[in-house]
């Protein structure tokens, strides 16, 4: 570990109150920095998005206290300011049973492993996992995607893996966390603001299972295939009488030089039908947000990676009181994305992306992204 790494590490640990951990054992420091410019000429889209420059900075410290016990802390700077994204203890006694406790990254979908800007080649996230970098993201419009990622929460995750023969890994995990918050639909920003405690006395829970086949021969065309399923359920309001249920399926594969990914996810969220001000008569007292993406990624040269993505999002349910007047009971987005990532040098990269947004309730928009960053 270099002196500068140690200084960064000490600074982060000091800020998080973990300085004594430095004395415990091996320390690994990693992180990433990325700035992205989102541009669009559509006045409507510009007024309903976080266009302009957005930072995503992260610094992670992992301390291996013993062979089976480690601590991890990750601080992030983004749209919500500086926040503790991860802060947990991890106990890894056996491959088949391990535990994380603290502020953890909730495993939902394949993208929850790749949300860091250095983990995906496109400049933006798939719509089902998008946060504030989507058009019409506001709570009176689409109110973000299905499960905005990263979803970090306070709780416990038990996980493990088993092997079927030597070619299929089955990873499984179940968790209990504080859960989403809100009163009439979810309030995403409350997840990233102090206080980081639960708003009701009822934990939420979920599970994820992933089966991964790996080819035993290096020359096989199909080198790797993963199929995953995720689920979560809980109550989100203070009185704990309105629930949310989210589920997803994901598939990823490596075929020759191509990386293929596809995911689908939906979330059903109860609403308060007793409130005044709804524009329509309520038939179903919930909102269903569902979406998908399919993505192909391939290297062109050792320094250039090209991505093609097609994704969509549908919000179905009565617009809430005070919603954007243009929002209908069934509102959809279809988006076509082409992006390139240029690997510049020693962990530095630049991203360029073009997106064509086709919306049912809002004007069509052309969006471009230009970003640069690095990871270590």
């Amino acid at each position: 570990m270099t002196d500068s790494s140690r200084a960064w590490c000490a600074a982060l640990l000091c800020s998080l109150g973990l300085l004594p951990a430095l004395a415990l054992g091996d320390v690994n420091v990693s992180g990433s920095a990325y700035v992205d410019y989102l541009g669009t000429r559509s006045p409507s889209a510009r007024a309903s998005s976080l266009s302009g420059i957005t930072p995503e900075l992260a610094l992670k410290v992992e301390v291996d206290a013993t062979e089976h016990l480690s601590f991890s802390a990750k601080a992030c700077l983004g749209c919500h300011g500086v926040s503790p994204e991860r802060f947990h203890a991890e106990w890894t006694p056996k491959p088949w049973i391990n535990a994380q406790a603290g502020r953890i990254v909730v495993p939902f979908g394949d993208f929850s492993m790749r949300y860091d800007p250095s983990g995906h080649a496109t400049a933006s996230k798939p719509l089902i996992y998008e946060m504030g970098r989507m058009l019409y993201f506001r709570s009176d419009q689409f109110n973000l995607g299905v499960v905005p990622t990263p979803y970090v929460d306070n709780g416990v995750l038990l996980y493990g893996q088993a092997w079927l023969k030597d070619s299929v890994q089955v990873w499984y995990g179940g968790y209990a966390v504080g859960g989403f918050k809100g009163e009439n639909d979810l309030d995403w920003s409350s997840l990233y603001q102090a206080y980081f405690n639960d708003n009701n006395a009822e934990p939420s829970g979920g599970a994820r299972v992933v089966a991964t086949y790996s080819a035993s021969s290096d020359s096989a065309l199909l080198k790797d295939l993963s199929l995953g399923a995720s689920f979560m359920y809980g109550h989100y309001n203070r009185a704990a009488n309105r629930s949310y249920l989210a589920a997803g399926l994901d598939l990823s594969s490596r075929v020759g030089p191509l990386t293929l990914r596809a995911e689908g996810a939906l979330r059903r969220t109860d609403i308060d039908a007793s409130l005044p001000g709804y524009r329509y008569e309520i038939v179903d007292p919930w909102i269903e947000t569902a979406g998908f993406y399919g993505e192909i990624q391939h290297p062109v040269t050792e320094w250039l990676v090209v991505s093609y993505r097609f994704d969509g999002l549908r919000r179905q349910g009565v617009p809430l009181p005070g919603s954007d007047a243009r929002l209908s009971a069934v509102s959809t987005i279809l988006r076509y994305t082409q992006g390139v990532q240029v690997n510049i040098a020693s962990g530095l990269f630049a991203k360029l992306g073009y997106e064509y947004w086709l919306l049912s309730d809002f004007p069509t928009a052309h969006v471009f992204h230009l970003g640069a960053g690095g990871a270590f």
Partner: protein, 121 residues
């Protein structure tokens, strides 16, 4: 005005980064293993597939972890969802990373025979 200056700033950052790039530079997201021993080349293939699932290869390639550090780090990666890293894959990944870190540190020429492999334990 703010929007225009934002574009200029983003372009400037990216432009400045790209100006320093030459495609002929050493690999930044891939290792040229053509001069490596055959078993290390085979191990690199496993590393290239497994270790690019969740992050770019630049991350491990540019890391300063030692061989011992890699042993414990790979154990963590094995337990990630969908890693698909079994004992044999882990041994191969470790074999490559240990060799590559020795080459990077100047302890081995690229064509040297690899040291005896102790596995990931």
């Amino acid at each position: 005005m703010i929007r225009a200056s934002g574009v200029v700033a983003a372009l400037s950052v990216s432009g400045a980064l790209l100006m320093g790039v030459s495609p002929a530079q050493p690999a930044v997201n891939r290792v040229d293993v053509s001069g490596y021993p055959p078993d290390v080349q085979a191990a690199y293939q496993v590393f290239e597939i497994k270790c690019s699932k969740c992050h770019t290869l630049a991350k491990p390639i540019n890391s300063r972890l030692s061989a011992d550090d890699w042993k414990s780090y790979i154990k963590k990666m094995i337990r990630r969802p969908g890693s698909g890293i079994n004992e044999e894959s882990a041994r191969q990944i470790f074999h490559f990373l240990r060799y590559y870190s020795s080459v990077k540190a100047g302890m081995l020429p690229p064509s040297a025979e690899p040291p005896t492999d102790a596995g990931t334990g």
